[in-house]
Structures are given as structure tokens and as C-alpha cells.
Amino acid sequence: MSGYAPHTEAEVAAMLEFLGLSSLDDLFAVVPAALRMAGGLDLPEGMPEPDAFAYIDDLSRANRPAGRDLVCFAGGGAYDHEVPPVTRALASRSEFVTSYTPYQPEVAQGVLQAVFEFQTLVARLTGMEVANASLYDGAAATVEAVNLAVAATGRQTVWVSRGLNPTWRQVLATFSAGTGHRLVDVALTNGTTQWEGADADGEAPGVVLVAYPNYLGCLEDLAAARAVCDRTGAMLVVAFDPIAAGVLRPPSDWGADVVVGEGQALGMPLGFGGPYLGLFACGLSQVRRLPGRLVGETVDAEGRRAYVTTLRAREQDIRRHKATSNVCTNQTLMAVTAAIQLGWLGTTGIAEVALRSARGTRYCREKLLGIPGIEALADAAVLREFAVRLPLPAPVVIERLVDEGFLAGIALDGSYSSGADDGLLVAVTERRTRTEIDAFVDAMAKAVR
């Protein structure tokens, strides 16, 4: 027998005999004969591992990964931050990789404690009291936050800042088809949300949703967003950035009710978009509405400190159709990875990464804006990312810069640039050197000439 099943032919025969069967096909006697596949699946024959590896390796060589040969200035929710060998080594330990949801805490203290530490780290970063054990990604966390806030306020109107990552906005819209939430877009003016006039539409919002920094990299006035909530009785959901949080005022300080975010920057590779990590934090008052898993501290029968998943009654496997979330498998390994990465960064490292990213961003932005024909798309303060308006369509410029060895950024959709396709979102992390930035700027100057 091939594959990974250990059965020898003799064993299969003995097992069938034990069952009183004469062939493996007999095991499927309950399946109506008409349904059983006669010819077998029309798939290529199984390949030995080295062949399969070579096949995938070929595919991987048909991509251009970020790295020395394609220096990355793209962000838009996925960032090229340092992932040190120590994070990769620890996060790939097979005990973390090949275990299941910690249903038996007596033999799962490893994952449980790591997630407990993750929850604590996210709580400290956001300033909130409690964080969950992860959701799929930033978009999924946003959807869950909106669901929580709608349930808490009983109102289905959601004011969504256009500064929210537009793909997250799309995901929220998709799922709102089921939940029936009404999304009201609130436009940006010069990079930050223009709350005035949003209520023109009449219905009081249950949720106000804003990103900090926002999609264009700008720092929103969260006091204004909070004021809107105070005025309307809505809950304030802030999509924060965990790296920026190293130097920015935590969302809790601004009065956020729920904080969500994308955790990819905390030790995950770009990975073509996944698996990433949905961050979710809120106040203890909302803990019974918290979506997904929650680990808590307790003791074992001998009084030793121990951890366990708790408040399970909220979860779908017990509350079933009364559950407010259906999440089951989440992104635990990424939460463990983030705990390791945040352990590596620590208090000083996360601030340093944010600071260095901000320095590179400032340097790069000023240089780019010095190129004739390139203009700022917004003037508000930025941290790690900024938007410019190009004299050519952004997709064209991006392709030209790929040829020069740069991933220039993300092309903005027209809504950010008065309908034109000339908006480019550029991210500069702490990994970008001055030499790289200078070369990028030179290449850009040529590309837009």
C-alpha cells in the first residue's frame, strides 16, 4: 500500500476477516450502488513526494516573491515586516502545528497558555480588557464586531468609514446579505472621515466603524468618531493596526467599544494573503457576546495554575442557532505565532518597528512627492503608509516598476481619487533601507516620466 496509511495487505485481510467482510468495497455496502463511482476519480495518478515537491516548486518559481529581487513597498493590509528565525523556529514546532483545539486541557496547556498570553498581549496593545483567541483575519473580525455591536445596541445601521480597508468593507457587505445590516458609507475628506452629514440618511446607527490608521495610512480623529457615537448611541468599532499601536494612542483611550485588526504583521509571512490573523478585543461587559474561543486561567485538582477554554456556552457548538457567531476552527497557530513575535519584539521592539517604519515612510513620501507629476492624495498625518496621485494609471506604473525590481504599492480604486485610477498606496516598513528607497524613487521618477 502507498500513501501514509500504514496498513499492510496482510493486515487489511485480517481486519476484513475480523469484520466478516471479503473486500474493502464491502465496507461501502450501505452506499447505494448507483452512487458509487465506477471508474474512480479522474485525477492525475499519485506522484511520489519528490515529484510533487518539484511540481509545486515549479509553480513557486512562476511567482515573484517579495525580497531582494522585488523590493516590497506594497501594504494595503499585508506588510513586509521582519520575521526572525526564532519566531519561525518556535511557531513551527510540531506540537503547535499538529494539535487540535484544546478540548482536553490536561494535555493542552501548551497551546492554552500561549493563547492566554496572546489574549493578554492583544489586550495590552489595544488597551481593552479582553481579547479572544483569534478570528480568520481582519475582515472576519470586523464582521464579528459589527454583529456584536448590532446585537448589543439592537440597531442594524452601520456607519462605515471609507477609510476602512475596501476589501474588508466588501466582506462585511457580503455577510450583511444574511444578517440584514444596513451599511452606510461615510466619505473621507483629505484622508480622514467626514462624519458630518452621515446622518442625512436618517436612521440612527448601531455601529460606527473606523480604521486607525486608515486605509490611506492616515491617522483618524477618533475623538470625533467617539463623539458621533456618544451623540447617536452607537458603539464604536475601531480597526487598529498592531504595529502602529507600538506608538499610537491605544483605541481604548479614545473610547472604542470593540477593537479589531489584522495581525499578519505580527510574524506571519505575506503568504499570498493567508493564513493571517483576526484580532478582536472588547470590554469585559461584552464578554458573553465575544465571538470565538476564549482561554481563561484556573487551577487543576492539585491547585496548580492551569488554563482552559472558558465561557463555552457562548460558542456555536453549545448555543447552536442562538450563537452570535459560527466560528469554530480559527487561526490558533497564528495567534501562537503572534505571541512569540510579540515576545520577541516586546515593549521596546514594537515601538521601534513603528518608529522606524514611520521614519522610512516620511523619507520615502517626501522623496516621491519631489518627483514632478506626483502629488499627495491626502495631507493628514500618516505612519507607515501613504497615498499619492500619479500622472499615469497606477497599474501601468506598478508593472513598470516590477520590471525594475520593485513592488511599488497597491493601486487604489477610483473612489479614493475622484474616479481616476491614478492613486497608489505605498507602504514603507522598518525593513526598507535608505538605499532601497532611493533606488525606488529613482525608478519611479523614470517610470512616470
Binding site: P6, L43, G46, T98, V107, Q109, T298, D300, K322, E352
Partner: protein, 519 residues
């Protein structure tokens, strides 16, 4: 049981002490926060030469953090010691069998880990132009094709990040279909044995749950089903084999009945490992199928995730699939692959393209197996489960005594009656016999359920040892003191039985928060 945490950690803790490692002692492991010492650090960052502007110059005062985030400050040595010790406090498939019903904890080949770290996959920005991601696009298109062949469907989205996300996606597809046909339906039928994500997804999909009971065979009661079917039923969600590990023999009749009222059939693919290569959901009459790649196609569960939950659909539902979808382009001079979205698409269900690196692992698994290999997976998974069921049927109750598929549900009901030893006690005792516990108390319709899914990667010798251990536990229970011994189990694990009630009563969700939340 005491109400105070008795082992108060010395602050600050010693990062180089392995007293918490099961190899050395049985103490608690300090947290990262107890290991922290101001002034310590692990991080090292690239030298960039970028001008060193101060934070004050970069960020306006009102936006600056008043105080540092106060995470933890540890040396790399302590970081490594800490997480290595935590890994020694964690059971995993790589340590031993994990017969957790409904979860398909099979051995995951190491080759999949190796492909997932290839720089040409791992370091690709998801927003890079298609010209830079032709390999990824081809990979996704080929995976989609293989999944369609396996399910008997026409097309698939790879975006959903897990099974539950797939379920909700499927329900939104159902809704889009009915909407497009000018119908507003309100109900979705699910059997009482269904996994909890099914009813939760139905609710989130904006539908009302109608529960249909199981009959004495453990299958959907066809008459009861017919009784609830009407033109307000949007569809039915089924897993086949169902969560009792039993094949729904009447599936053809069920499909006909649902289709007759204009409903759609949704297949919860969590149990596909039982039938892959043997029978296809499409051939059974299903319209929408989600797959749990982290179950059937051996992408590891990661302590609770990540997973991947692609959704495949029959031809008529293809236009509604989430977009953008990776697509093979017409032959020509430029790129061979690109993205496409239909106007009818329900929209994105993931911020990018799904859990891509998980998808790459799954394709690798499929390539190594091929069609015949996959069929063998199902055959041997079912063989193992039936062997266990038959072997243990004298020791534990078998609520539905007929051939099972890839998992078997036993019950400790009689054992509990005669000795007081519950399914939970059996589960805890098994841990110290060298096995992970089966799933307990699920499905809900079985009293004192013990749900065993050995998977195809466990050997006959392991099954024998597992069965022997379960027999030993049952035999011990009737001996003097046996029930007490079981109730106090486990005895040999790094922590003894964990006080779950206390965790819910006095909630300690972080190192910093402690709140009495009542009982």
C-alpha cells in the same frame, strides 16, 4: 477544591528553569509576563540608514501613546525556553493517536510543511499584480479543478478560511439563488445530529432553523423531513456520513424531496474522509459543498486553526460564487492566469484569496495521493473505524449498531449506570494511557457519547492498543475504588483535572483581568 491559586509564581521568574517541563517536574510554567525584566530584549532590526527623525516630529502629540504598550521584555534565550517548554506541555498528532471524532486528526505529511515555506509561495504579496503571481494563480486553479472532480461539482471558491465560513458562504449562495429567482424563502432544514456550526450558520445566513429528527437507524427520518418541506424551505444542510458516522442511505430520496419543493442541498464536507473517491456529493444530488481541507486533505489543525473551507457548487450556482476568482485566461501573449468576477457574485468572503498557504498544502497532498490514493484513504479510514466499533461493542454501548463509516459513536451510558464512571472520566483516563481522548458528549442526541475517529493513518497495532486501553478502563471501573480512580483521572499529565467551572465563574481572560462573572 481550593479557591485560591496556590502556586504563586516568584516574580520575576527564572527563564532558564525547566521545572514545568514534563521531563523534569510538574510545576506551572511562568507566563511571558513573569519572565519579563525591563531592559531585556530579543529584537534585532535591519540597519537601514534612514534618517533618524524623532517620534515627536513624525506623529502629532494627540496621536502618540502616553505610555509604552508594556508587553513583555525577555531575552531570546528565555523566549525560546518558554515556548519550547510550552510545546512539551502540548499533545499533538506527531506525539500519538488523536481519535477525536468529527475532527479527522490524521497524520499530516511533512512535505506539506516544506512546500508552505518555499519563498516563491510564502513571500508573495497578495496584492501583487497577476504578472508576479502566475504560479499562485495556477496553483489555485488546479486545486479548484481537483476539488470539483472530487465533489462532482462545477466550480469552487477557495476563499472561506474554515468550514464554518464555507457554510455561511454556501447559505449566502443559496440566498442569492433564490433571490435571483424572485423567491424569498425563510427556512433551512438541518438534522438534530448536526454539528453546531450548521444551525449557527443558518442563523447568520438570515434563515430560520428547522430541525428534523433522526430515526432509529441514526439517519434522517424521511417522513419527518417530508413533513417539514414546503416552498418556504430554502434548502437542507446535511453531512453524509452524518455526525454519527453513518451513511444517509436515503440520500437520493432526500435530494429528490428537497429539490421537489425548490430547495437546495448543502453538503457539510467535514466527513468527506469517509467517502472521498468512493461517492461524490454531486452524484448524491447536492448543490453546494464545503470541504474542510484541514480534515480530509491533511493540512494540520494548528492547535485550532488555520483551516480552509472551499465551497464547490453545481453549474447553476457558479455565477454567484464569491469573487474575484483565479481564472485560466484564453491563450495569448500575456499572462496565462488572471482574476475574474461575475456580476451575480455574492462578493468577497475573505480579505484576500483565502488561507493560501493552507491551500498549497492541500494541493500537495492531493498530488501525492492521486485518485486511487484518495479512495484508499477513505477505505482504510472506514476499515479502521469499523474494526474499533466491532472490537469495542462488547465493552461500551453501541447506540446505532450497524456498519459505520470513518468514525463510530459509542456510549458510556451503561458504564455510568453501573459504576458512575462517565464518558468524561473515560476520556480523562485515556490521556494517561498514551492516547488523546475521543470527542465526548457529541453528537448531542447520544447519551454519554464517545465518538472515535481513528483515521487511516493509525495502524492496526495502535487500534489494538487503544481498544485494549478502553477495555482496561471499563474493567477498572467495576473494581473497588475504580470509579473514584477514574473520577480523579488523569494522574500522570502535567496538570491534573482542570477546574472548568472555576474558569467560567471567576473569569481570568488575561494576565491583567480578573472578574467574577457569576456561575
Amino acid at each position: 477544591m481550593t479557591d485560591v491559586v496556590t502556586d504563586v509564581m516568584p516574580e520575576p521568574a527564572a527563564g532558564g528553569r525547566a521545572l514545568s517541563a514534563p521531563l523534569m517536574g510538574r510545576d506551572a510554567e511562568p507566563t511571558l509576563f513573569e519572565l519579563s525584566q525591563p531592559g531585556r530584549r530579543s529584537w534585532q532590526l535591519r540597519t537601514t540608514g534612514v534618517p533618524e527623525v524623532s517620534l515627536e516630529d513624525l506623529v502629532p502629540a494627540e496621536h502618540r501613546r502616553p505610555a509604552p504598550p508594556g508587553l513583555a521584555e525577555v531575552s531570546e534565550r528565555d523566549l525560546v525556553g518558554h515556548f519550547t517548554r510550552l510545546s512539551h506541555r502540548q499533545f499533538s498528532v506527531d506525539l500519538g493517536a488523536y481519535p477525536l471524532g468529527s475532527c479527522t486528526m490524521k497524520y499530516n505529511p511533512k512535505i506539506c510543511d516544506a512546500v508552505a515555506v518555499l519563498p516563491g509561495l510564502a513571500d508573495v504579496h497578495p496584492g501583487a499584480p497577476a504578472s508576479c503571481t502566475q504560479g499562485w494563480l495556477q496553483l489555485l486553479v488546479e486545486l479548484e479543478q481537483q476539488l470539483c472532480e472530487i465533489t462532482g461539482m462545477a466550480a469552487a471558491t477557495l476563499q472561506p478560511a474554515a468550514g464554518a465560513a464555507g457554510e455561511l458562504t454556501g447559505l449566502l449562495l443559496m440566498r442569492a439563488w433564490h433571490d435571483a429567482h424572485g423567491q424569498t424563502r425563510h427556512k433551512v432544514v438541518i438534522p438534530d445530529s448536526a454539528h453546531g456550526t450548521n444551525p449557527a450558520s443558518v442563523t447568520l445566513g438570515g434563515y430560520e432553523v428547522v430541525t428534523v429528527p433522526s430515526d432509529a437507524r441514526g439517519c434522517v427520518d424521511l417522513d419527518a423531513l417530508r413533513a417539514v418541506l414546503d416552498e418556504d424551505v430554502a434548502g437542507i444542510m446535511l453531512t453524509n456520513p452524518n455526525t454519527l458516522g453513518l451513511f444517509e442511505e436515503d440520500i437520493v430520496a432526500i435530494a429528490a424531496a428537497v429539490h421537489e419543493v425548490g430547495g437546495l442541498l448543502y453538503y457539510d464536507g467535514a466527513n468527506l474522509n469517509a467517502i472521498v473517491g468512493v461517492v461524490r456529493p454531486g452524484d448524491m444530488g447536492f448543490d453546494i459543498v464545503h470541504l474542510n481541507l484541514h480534515k480530509t486533505f491533511a493540512t494540520p489543525h494548528g492547535g485550532g486553526g488555520p483551516g480552509a473551507g472551499p465551497v464547490a457548487v453545481s453549474q447553476r450556482l457558479v455565477p454567484y460564487l464569491p469573487g474575484p476568482r483565479p481564472t485560466r485566461l484564453a491563450d495569448g501573449a500575456g499572462d496565462r492566469y488572471g482574476w475574474s468576477t461575475t456580476p451575480e457574485s455574492i462578493g468577497r468572503v475573505h480579505s484576500w484569496h483565502g488561507n493560501a498557504l493552507v491551500l498549497a498544502r492541500a494541493l500537495t497532498y492531493l498530488l501525492v495521493h492521486g485518485g486511487d490514493g484518495l479512495k484508499q484513504v477513505a477505505q482504510l479510514a472506514v476499515l479502521n473505524a469499523n474494526w474499533l466499533r466491532t472490537r469495542l461493542s462488547g465493552t461500551y454501548d453501541v447506540p446505532y449498531d450497524r456498519p459505520c463509516m470513518h468514525e463510530c459513536v459509542l456510549s458510556a451510558s451503561s458504564l455510568k449506570k453501573s459504576t458512575g464512571v462517565r464518558a468524561l472520566d473515560v476520556a480523562k483516563r485515556l490521556l494517561e494511557e498514551g492516547f488523546h481522548s475521543p470527542t465526548v458528549y457529541f453528537p448531542l442526541i447520544v447519551d454519554e457519547a464517545l465518538m472515535l475517529e481513528p483515521t487511516e493513518t493509525e495502524s492496526l497495532q495502535t487500534l489494538e492498543a487503544l481498544a485494549t486501553a478502553l477495555e482496561k478502563i471499563a474493567a477498572e471501573a467495576v473494581e473497588p475504588g475504580g470509579a473514584q480512580y477514574a473520577a480523579e483521572a488523569p494522574h500522570a499529565t502535567p496538570v491534573r483535572r482542570v477546574d472548568e467551572a472555576r474558569a467560567a465563574r471567576t473569569l481570568v481572560p488575561t494576565f491583567d483581568a480578573r472578574r467574577d462573572v457569576g456561575s
